[in-house]
């Protein structure tokens, strides 16, 4: 490959972009992966602990414990966001902090906090879902498409089998 400095890179955008890529500080992928694993794992482990508490201490059935567990995780994510800790955990742990449900709660809480200065209706109400919006939109749309496909397939199969 041609050395990026062998011609006037300011006349050649592609050559400059190659040079820029070459000079980037590389991300420590292995270290980042390890950190993400630790943070994501810790959050999930904590979630499991919460479920166990609801099951063994408060006598919920495992299925009944789901919703309270999620609510508890949301509570802590929002609390940490408000205390200014979540973004530091996120910078260190990367994708480990994006895991649902805590990541989702953080996006909504952080958006709400920032837009409070524009009032509760247009500010908080209008912007709370700014970062989480795509998750909801594409989650619902894809669920709809999958359900549609499944129904069609079921219909066809039943028709073919004659039942």
């Amino acid at each position: 490959m041609e050395h990026p400095l062998s011609r006037d890179v300011l006349r050649d955008p592609e050559a400059y972009q190659r040079l820029a890529r070459d000079r980037e500080t590389p991300r420590p992928v292995l270290l980042n992966s390890l950190r993400a694993f630790l943070v994501g794992g810790a959050i999930s482990f904590f979630g499991q602990l919460v479920t166990d508490v609801y099951v063994h201490v408060f006598h919920f059935s495992p299925k009944e414990a789901n919703n309270p567990t999620v609510a508890t995780l949301i509570f802590f994510a929002v609390l940490f966001t408000g205390l200014g800790w979540y973004d530091r955990i996120g910078q260190w742990g990367g994708a480990g902090a994006i895991v649902p449900v805590t990541g989702f709660a953080n996006t909504m809480a952080s958006s709400a906090l920032d837009y409070r200065s524009e009032g509760y209706v247009l500010g908080v109400g209008g912007n709370m879902f700014k970062v989480a919006g795509p998750v909801i939109v594409f989650g619902v749309v894809s669920a709809f498409v999958v359900a549609l496909v499944r129904s069609l397939v079921e219909l066809l199969v039943r028709g073919a089998v004659g039942g």
Partner: protein, 337 residues
């Protein structure tokens, strides 16, 4: 008619002087290596205000008030105020102009606003259009994050090439005479866009503009980098600086890398503080130039310095629309009398 043109550079036959300067900063700037040079450092990122946007305004107003006090000037003595910030419609500067009550021209060169304003201020004074011009720039980390990137408490991870917007302001008063620090020449840069699209690597987007303006400025003046004690860019950061040095070598410039510095690397200690590739924002250059370099020159420790602030001229929307990031750099040569 006053003829200051030498190529694309303005060279002032009677160089205007920096009359007074003032710089203020936030908590991170106070902890940084230049914390002591700040006229005022605020522990509270809200600066006692209700919103980050108001805080940014308060920072600029504070710097302006301190500069006027240091120069024993009243707002009425100011003929023109030329400044800018990073927020939409440069509101912080507009509201500061409101409280100042003087003729105001808002300027947007992103993080190159400091030297853009200084160049304009020098031209206004040299041409006789104004006797006292106030110029400066302000930025606030959290206001910029909110506008350009993600909510301030969002848990996303930034790459090592990302920068940390400086919270603070730097202003200067320019007059026909004042401190023994003269504005010898200024080059208004042209926009350079080499197709960089990553807003988390603005250093790469701005380096081409820096070297383009640098080459023009030096060629027009007939000077080389070795004629300067220091060449200080505004906010290229570690990554952008690497690219600048590459481009300078490739341009055939002879220089000592130790004398090519970056304000974003001077205002923070990258080892101690989590600032990724360095400081950025309109205040990065303004604080270092007006708070550190000008006083060093006034005290006789520096003789000739090139201020080369750099800016990334994208908008939050342009990036989302897939546009690349255009860069710009304005150069000002300061000389000790």
């Amino acid at each position: 008619m006053l003829d200051v043109r030498q190529g694309r550079t303005w060279v002032f036959p009677q160089p205007p002087a920096i009359f007074a300067t003032a710089t203020v900063g936030g908590p991170r700037e106070k902890e940084g290596p230049l914390g002591k040079v700040l006229d005022r450092a605020y522990e509270d990122p809200y600066v006692g205000e209700k919103t980050f946007e108001r805080a940014e305004r308060a920072l600029l107003e504070s710097a302006v008030a301190i500069a006027l006090r240091k120069g024993s000037l009243a707002p009425e003595n100011v003929d023109l105020f030329v400044g800018g910030d990073l927020l939409n419609q440069i509101v912080s500067t507009a509201y500061t102009a409101r409280s100042l009550g003087v003729p105001y021209l808002g300027l947007y060169s992103a993080c190159a606003t400091s030297t853009g304003g200084l160049a304009l201020a020098a031209l206004l004074v040299a041409s006789g259009a104004a006797a006292t011009v106030l110029t400066g720039a302000v930025s606030h980390n959290l206001a910029a994050e909110r506008q350009f990137r993600q909510p301030t408490e969002y848990g996303g991870q930034k790459p090592p090439t990302a920068q940390t917007t400086v919270t603070g302001a730097g202003v200067a008063v320019v007059r026909p005479s004042g401190l023994p620090v003269r504005i010898r020449a200024a080059t208004v840069g042209r926009v350079m866009d080499m197709g960089i699209t990553d807003p988390m690597n603005m250093g790469a987007a701005m380096a081409p503009a820096a070297v383009d303006t640098l080459r023009t400025h030096l060629a027009d003046l007939g000077l080389s980098p070795t004629d300067y004690d220091l060449i200080v860019t505004g906010d290229l950061g570690e990554v952008g600086r690497r690219l600048l040095l590459d481009l300078m070598r490739e341009a055939g410039l002879f220089f000592d890398p130790e004398r090519v510095r970056d304000a974003g690397l001077m205002i923070y200690d990258r080892e101690r503080q989590n600032v990724l590739t360095g400081g950025s924002g309109a205040a990065s250059s303004a604080i270092v130039y007006y708070g550190y370099l000008v006083p060093e020159m006034a005290d006789g420790r520096l003789r000739r310095v090139l201020l080369l602030a750099t800016g990334a001229l994208h908008s939050p929307l342009s990036v989302q629309q897939g546009e690349s990031i255009p860069g710009i750099a304005h150069a000002v040569t300061l000389e000790r009398e």
